[in-house]
């Protein structure tokens, strides 16, 4: 392999990116050395098994990926702003819509949600950590290795260019000869394994580690949503594992799964991809529902309306989510029975979703609504998501879908569910739980400016796409002629996209601003919250709760506040057993990164060596006898006094 094949060459934008990457890496290295922070980074972050810190690392990675995917989006929107633009050529456009899709779903939405659930779930159920803290760190580092592997593809070897769904035969070696789709199969595989482990970890955590008295039906709604989500992860991700494995085999070893000859079946890929892909949609939306449930009930100052029906709907959604995947390829020709079945199943799924929407509305009804930043996102979500849902039902009708299939109408639909659904939710969740992690709130004024930019620009950016789609503009078209008449609406959409970018700049600026100027919260409960995470201090001490709370009902903390009681009564501080930090997961992530990288380029010897190193690391872990450590009572008492602010 020649050097100019190894590095991507010939694009001024890529060269600029190369320079930026080198400069940014240098800046980080110099900065860490100058401020003597290497040890801090290693001790406090890279080796941590603390669920809160892992959550924060997930969220930081997600924000970085949001930036990357956002730049991709702006490039695409600029290219489409006017007819016959030449900012991007067809190939570059293909690569960018592919990476935009993959990064936004798998390396932005997923880690953002997993980050929030890492931070919040153990606190909400009154636990000291997740069930398997070390496995949790492994999950994070595998995700991070996958994300980095995917991201270097655009400077080394070339990005994947067959769409985020990577349909065959386009994604085959024959039609996509670059290593781009090797990156796709391996990066997703590595981070997918991490996600699967997260799913198992959180199911065990939620089932086994709840505070005394907290039965399943007394759990906060966010925890419920994460339980259901984790179950879907556990059963959906293995399908992706296999699909990606077969893709890798086809591309690296010349197997005949998705080929056009020797019996291969190209549509089998699409089938497997969506068997995972549709549950995946619910993996990113159910936690969002959970976040909104918490926020709406907190800021309407009412208990959540229809708790039981919320739970039942989520269980129903989790089952139905596995029965609808083929609606992504009605036009393949699978016949009336197939199309009919999947069409009806898809429409059925809108029923439990509708139940949830009504529950939120009834929670708001006659509530004393506080218009905080998180609440604004929740309120903007309800109507916007409804538009996304209703157009989804339109798409679910198989016969009508022949008209909408692969048009901008579809693009508008899924952005209407994913942005107000998932993206607004994770931003709202970040504002909501930020004080819990860092001990101060994000500035409300800047937060609201960001909100209005984001909420309005979102409508401006995506509403026109519905009409463009109905007018016949297909998705993934890199340019169009003036005669199509698509120009004006596209220009409006592009303006909206840049408005969104401005909103996100405000959002990031707000984090910086609040770090410097926000008043510190001493109560631990700045929003007058309802669930257990607000019962401990902010920032949360390593052990979460000095005394494990006892609960007897839903929103026990809220009612305890009303009755001026404590959830910690009658118990003494005891010694706390905590897991030790370890560098193992980080090292494993690094080795997996190299394993993936060598496989991408079919460098077999180094790949085999990396694989053996992985096995050795697993064996070392097996032989290790690590019993963790104990935090003594005096130490806990001291920490608690400091956090309360009294020096007595």
């Amino acid at each position: 392999m020649k050097w100019d094949e190894f590095f991507v060459t010939g694009e001024p934008m890529i060269y600029a990116a190369d320079i930026c990457i080198v400069l940014a890496s240098l800046a980080i290295i110099i900065g860490l050395t100058y401020f003597k922070k290497w040890g801090y980074l290693w001790r406090e972050w890279l080796t941590t098994v603390d669920h809160k810190k892992i959550g924060v690392m997930y969220i930081i990675s997600a924000l970085l990926m949001l930036f990357r995917g956002g730049v991709d989006a702006l490039l695409m929107r600029t290219q489409l702003a006017m007819p016959n633009m030449t900012l991007l050529n067809a190939q570059h456009y293909n690569e960018i819509f592919t990476t935009h899709g993959v990064i936004m779903i798998l390396f932005m939405a997923m880690p953002f949600i997993i980050g929030l659930m890492n931070v919040v779930v153990p606190l909400q159920i009154g636990a000291r950590d997740v069930a398997f803290p070390r496995l949790n760190a492994v999950s994070f580092w595998l995700f991070f290795a996958g994300a980095m592997l995917f991201n270097i593809s655009f400077v080394i070897g070339g990005s994947p260019d067959a769409g985020w769904s990577a349909y065959f035969p386009l994604a085959s070696k024959e039609f996509s000869p670059s290593v781009g789709n090797n990156y796709y199969s391996l990066a997703l595989q590595i981070s997918g394994i991490g996600t699967l482990m997260t799913g198992v970890n959180f199911v065990v955590t939620i089932l086994k580690m709840r505070a005394p008295g907290m039965t399943l039906m007394k759990m906060p709604m966010f925890t419920w949503s994460i339980l259901i989500t984790s179950v879907i992860i556990m059963f959906a991700f293995p399908v992706l594992t296999i699909a990606l494995l077969l893709m890798m085999f086809d591309r690296l070893f010349g197997t005949q799964f998705f080929t056009m000859t020797n019996g291969g079946m190209d549509m089998l890929w699409a089938n497997l991809f969506w068997v995972w892909g549709h549950p995946e949609v619910y993996i990113v939306i159910l936690p969002a529902f959970g976040i909104y449930s918490e926020i709406i009930s907190t800021f309407a100052k009412k208990n959540l309306y229809g708790y039981k029906s919320m739970v039942v709907s989520m269980v129903a959604i989790s089952l139905l989510s596995f029965l609808v995947w083929a609606h992504h390829f009605y036009t393949m020709g699978m016949g009336v029975v197939g199309n009919g079945f999947f069409s009806i199943a898809t429409m059925a799924i809108s029923v439990p979703t509708g139940v949830k929407l009504f529950n939120w509305l009834f929670t708001l009804y006659k509530g004393r609504i506080e218009f905080t930043t998180p609440m604004l996102y929740a309120l903007a979500f309800i109507p916007s998501f409804t538009i996304g849902g209703v157009t989804g039902v339109m798409l679910a009708i198989a016969s009508a879908d022949y008209q909408y299939h692969n048009t901008m109408f579809l693009v508008a639909h899924f952005h209407y569910v994913l942005i107000p659904g998932t993206v607004f939710a994770v931003i709202a969740g970040m504002h909501f739980w930020f004080p819990k992690i860092f001990g101060f709130r994000l500035n409300e004024r800047i937060g609201k400016i960001a909100f209005w930019f984001i909420a309005i620009s979102f409508q401006v950016a995506f509403m026109p796409l519905f009409f463009l789609g109905l007018n016949g503009m297909t998705r993934r078209m890199y340019t169009y002629s003036p005669e199509t008449g698509f120009g004006p609406l596209n220009m409006i959409a592009t303006i909206g996209a840049f408005g969104l970018a401005i909103g996100f700049i405000f959002l990031v600026y707000n984090i910086y601003y609040s770090f410097r100027y926000s008043p510190r919260d001493t109560t631990g409960d700045p929003w007058d919250g309802r669930s257990l995470e607000w019962a401990t201090h902010s920032p949360v001490p390593e052990y979460n709760f000095a005394i494990i709370p006892t609960v007897d009902k839903l929103d026990a903390f809220w009612f305890a506040k009303q009755d001026k009681k404590s959830l910690f009564e009658g118990k003494k501080i005891e010694e706390i057993h905590m897991p030790n930090n370890t560098g193992g997961p980080f090292v494993l992530g690094v080795v997996f990164f190299f394993l993936g990288f060598f496989l991408v380029f079919s460098w077999w010897i180094p790949a085999i060596i990396s694989g053996v190193v992985v096995l050795i690391l697993l064996a070392m872990r097996s032989f290790e006898r690590d019993h963790g450590h104990h935090i003594h009572v005096e130490e806990i008492v001291e920490t608690e006094q400091k956090l309360r602010g009294d020096n007595a």
């Binding site: 596995f322 016949g335 079945f341």
Partner: protein, 94 residues
Amino acid sequence: MKQLFPVKHVMGYIFSLILSLVALAVVFFDMSFAAGMTILLVAAAIQASLQLFLFMHIDETSSKKTLYLNIVYALFVGLVTIFGSLLAMIWGIV
């Protein structure tokens, strides 16, 4: 010595060998596809349950309901994947 070979385990082992032989019948006797598949399915299902209950002790703790639910959910997703895919990729194609 006897305590090392509990009757339940030995019976289970013998039974699983017999079930394998029963399944083998579909190759040696001429029968319809439906009959053959039924035999294979029943024999395999019994063998799987033997392993689950006898050797894996799925029912021995208080969390057995969770374990059953887990297996049932996994089988639901697995079977939906198999038969849904066959419907979409083979049976339905016109």
